[in-house]
Symmetry: C2
Amino acid sequence: MTPTQDDDASRARPGEPATDVGRRDPIAVAYELWREHGWEDAADGMALVTSLSRVNQLMTERIERTLRPYELSFARYELLRLLAFTSTGRVAMTRLGSLLQVHPTSVTSVVARLERQGHVERLRRTTDRRVVLASITGSGRHVAEVATRALNEDVFSRPGLPLEDVRTMTRLLGSLRGHLGDMTTP
Amino acid sequence: MTPTQDDDASRARPGEPATDVGRRDPIAVAYELWREHGWEDAADGMALVTSLSRVNQLMTERIERTLRPYELSFARYELLRLLAFTSTGRVAMTRLGSLLQVHPTSVTSVVARLERQGHVERLRRTTDRRVVLASITGSGRHVAEVATRALNEDVFSRPGLPLEDVRTMTRLLGSLRGHLGDMTTP
């Protein structure tokens, strides 16, 4: 590391635009900078994408905080919740990826972790021993229910917007999902 | 692994609700299941949170695909973009976390990676050698500009919704951010 003069460029100087983001909405600052640089066509899209990323980060923190007492991550909770909804509690590993919209590698590691916790076991079909099923256990069913109750209470039933806005946002997000390739509800 | 009878519960049987998510919007299916289980107060919030998570995942994939030719992740791009916006290209490491709204550990590893790529160097202040600054290099400035151009063209200027909806969504996301603790634009 080489020495340099004291120079912290993120503080505003007289005559310079206020880049001291500390007291301002960083997304509003970025929006202004985009427009100042002549990227007006991209500024709104940039602000949307950045806002989505930020809200998702905050929501994930909130969810993981709620799930911590149950020793679950959101990914593990979602897999357990899916299994618990099925009548037999068993789904083929290869189907879990598409049902949960995650990569098969992710499914394997989530199931392995849940298996170590005793919430899931892996079984083979007798009729076709190549097929591996993820099967929820009694403790898995129990923790899926109590975790759902906690998420419903702490996160889902108070999302931070009036119901009408929640529905508007879900609808618009649905349009975006469709545009980006998902199966959606028209 | 113990053998079991052929039983894949995620296929719909006659008389059973259609749980075969493969052909339906998985978020709509989850919404129905939430209501069927009596969790009506939480169903809309659950659908919103799940939609946010999914859209963010799809957007991140799109962004990382656009940045791949430049050998950048979104996190590395954002840090370079921030440095490139400042007049001197230098910001104290300790400030980067709050400016980018990420954990200091994350800043350290992102800067280290960019340093190995030659896009950033770490410097110490002469006036206070405890302060470490992240400083963008010539190649860092160059890649920040070409990557911004690519993101603007491929992602930001065609977000997948009409401008009015983009702005509605950004505004609602801003309300959510404020509710979850961020500095926002009122």
